[in-house]
């Protein structure tokens, strides 16, 4: 693994050197919130690397995906694949990079999903290490690390006026080779500083929860009163599921367009919505918020373990930070662990 140094002054040159060949995405702050967006204005703005972007998964798994459009004469039209520039995601947090690894078995499993695979296989992930974890980060509790490398092609660690860049894959090597004039080999003291920062970051993770034995416990708790108690304050909105990097539920809808045309689209769905499990008969097997919140917890911490062998959670803390009513996943996990 190569370790290189990129001066912060050269970041703009690095991004601009890549921009003709790649479609660049980065966290950008606008109107007081930071979103992962196509990064076009690289001449005038720099990516916002101080906040947590509200959502990341739309870069590979868009909220609304046009599958095809059609008209009344059975003429079907597939969307153009749009020039197929490779996506570079710059400023990806280690937990978010891991989240794509958790989505992979879902979309790249027995029946590969062509839409996801096309974006995922070509995407290049340039990470930024979390040397100062955010208030609700708990990646270390679910098997991650604030400076983890899983799923990344490059990982940048902020050393003040420069980045220590770990080259982690062939794709990463290709990028740094293309822009080799901007990189220097990392001296030993920078390597040590990077390692120290990683250690400091793991230690300064303020929120933690011990999940040992949780999955086994959940298998005996389906009817437990704890679920009702923790659901009382939930308002049933979709914030936790939409901002969650590992929530992947979707719906498929046919929609009318003007001029007797229509389209079939795939959309994010949310298990917090009443409509999510509503049967055509009118029956709803998850009639109240209690069953819905319980299902989300079970999916993340039991069903995902049963199906894919890992928790369906990377500990990014977004569902906690963005929940408007302080429905706190860590508190809820603690409540489940402590329930008699």
């Amino acid at each position: 693994m190569d370790m290189l140094i990129l001066k912060k002054d050269s970041l703009k040159d690095f991004l601009s050197a890549l921009s003709p060949d790649y479609a660049l995405w980065a966290p950008v702050e606008k109107d007081g919130n930071t979103l992962f967006q196509p990064f076009v204005d690289w001449q005038n703005t720099l990516p916002d690397l101080t906040h947590q972007a509200a959502i990341i998964k739309q870069t590979i798994f868009p909220q609304t995906e046009l599958l095809f459009s059609f008209d009344q004469n059975d003429q079907m039209q597939e969307p153009e694949s749009g020039g197929a520039k490779q996506n570079i995601l710059f400023g990806v947090r280690p937990c978010d990079a891991r989240s794509f690894s958790l989505l992979d078995p879902v979309f790249k499993g027995d029946i590969p999903d062509p839409y996801y695979c096309a974006r995922r296989n070509s995407a290049i992930l340039i990470g930024i290490a979390c040397t100062e974890p955010f208030a609700n980060c708990f990646c270390t509790s679910v098997g991650g690390s604030p400076c983890g490398q899983e799923g990344l092609d490059l990982l940048c660690t902020d050393l003040g006026d420069r980045y220590l860049v770990a080259v982690l894959s062939e794709k990463g090597t290709e990028l740094t080779n293309k822009t080799s004039s901007l990189f220097l080999p990392a001296p030993a003291e920078d390597l040590k500083q990077g390692a120290d920062l990683a250690q400091h970051a793991a230690r300064s993770m303020k929120r933690q929860v011990d999940l040992e034995g949780l999955t086994e416990k959940l298998s005996k708790m389906f009817e437990h009163p704890v679920w009702k108690k923790m659901t009382l304050k939930c308002i049933g909105c979709g914030i936790c599921t939409y901002t969650c990097p590992t929530c992947y539920c979707f719906d498929i809808q046919d929609e009318p367009l003007a001029k007797k045309r229509g389209r079939r689209v795939r959309l994010w769905d949310s298990c917090m919505y009443k409509e999510y499990t509503l049967h055509a008969s009118g029956h709803n097997p998850r009639p109240t918020r209690v069953e819905r919140l319980k299902n989300r917890m079970y999916h993340k911490f039991k069903f995902n373990v049963d199906s894919y062998g890992t928790f369906g959670c990377v500990g990014c803390g977004r569902c906690i930070t963005l929940c408007p009513v302080n429905e706190d996943l860590i508190d809820n996990l603690v409540a489940v662990k402590g329930a008699a």
Partner: protein, 325 residues
């Protein structure tokens, strides 16, 4: 306002035979968040708080209660919910009673005079990434904010929620018990709405298109609104499907226009929709425009009196009609 008094009143309310539980505020799990507290009789009332951080409305929880399956069960259980309500919340309650959304006798209202609450975004921008649950008290035009063993003083106006700076009804209008003295109303001000109205229509359209293109349709604004309580919401309806599920600027526009218009003459200005939005949409700009119109055209403010009638259910021959095409 004394928190001890609040606890005493809460204990008294929970001691009543007809109260099944109380909804109030408790410390949140981190930083500057508070959490709703649902307390049943004999449960710990010491967890109750009231502080400038109590910036969420609890009224919606009354409307979200799932009814017990049978009428016999409903009749056997105590029927009232005790609720801690600030000035704006009391207006929501008034309107709900007016609209027959909730019967008055279902509520036991503990009104609290409100000196205004802190805007979550402002305080988190000032003190980012605070994990420990902070304490905030108001003292003489300042907030004293304590966390990690350190106290910080910040002038009140720097952190006060924008809506609280123009609050007309800081003292609850309807209650069974009132805690705290009457608080003087602030001056109404629609300057920012007037300035926006003065912009050319293309500019306003472009502004909202840009804003609504960010909407992810999590429906938090609808779900948190104390006045959005339809059992079947047009946004959820599948047959007919009034609103396409595609998340694009056009459908998002439609969604937000439906939501806003449903609040015409009804919005009581608590600002919950804007507070909860994960995409920071300035939703109160729309709601306050409607509020201003209701005031100017009909001399009407919603939720002032539970015995009055909602604006859109009344007609007076002298009502202005110039906007009818």
């Amino acid at each position: 306002m004394s928190v001890q008094k609040l606890k005493d009143e809460a204990a008294r309310a929970l001691g009543r035979k007809d109260v099944k539980y109380l909804i109030g505020y408790k410390k949140g799990s981190y930083g500057f968040r508070v959490s709703p507290a649902f307390i049943e009789p004999k449960e710990d009332i010491d967890q109750l708080i009231f502080s400038p951080l109590c910036n969420m409305s609890l009224v919606k929880y009354v409307m979200m209660e799932e009814a017990l399956p049978s009428l016999t069960e409903q009749a056997m259980k105590p029927s009232k919910i005790a609720l801690v309500a600030r000035g704006c919340d009391s207006r929501a309650i008034n309107l709900l009673i007016e609209e027959k959304g909730v019967p008055r006798d279902k509520l036991y209202i503990i009104g609290v005079s409100c000196q205004g609450v802190i805007d979550q975004r402002k305080i988190e921008a000032r003190f980012p990434q605070v994990t420990e649950s902070a304490e905030v008290v108001e003292d003489n035009g300042k907030y004293i904010i304590t966390f990690h063993g350190q106290s910080h003083e910040v002038p009140k106006e720097e952190l006060l929620a924008d809506l609280c700076t123009v609050c007309q009804y800081p003292t609850p209008l309807i209650y069974d018990k009132l805690i705290g003295d009457k608080v003087a109303p602030r001056k109404p001000c629609y300057d920012e709405i007037k300035a926006f109205e003065a912009l050319p229509v293309e500019e306003r359209l472009a502004f909202w298109q840009q804003q609504f293109s960010k909407c992810v349709r999590c429906y938090a604004c609808r779900n948190v609104c104390p006045l959005c309580y339809s059992t079947i919401c047009s946004l959820d309806s599948l047959n007919p499907q009034w609103l396409r599920r595609s998340v694009d600027p056009s459908e998002n526009f439609m969604f937000q226009i439906i939501r806003t218009f449903h609040l015409a003459g009804r919005c009581i200005g608590c600002g919950e929709c804007e507070r909860v939005c994960p995409m920071n949409l300035p939703l109160m700009k729309l709601n306050r425009k409607l509020e201003k119109d209701a005031k100017e055209l009909f001399d009407y403010e919603s939720g002032k009196d539970p015995k009055s009638k909602p604006l859109l259910t009344t007609f007076r021959p002298e009502d202005p009609q110039g906007f009818i095409l």
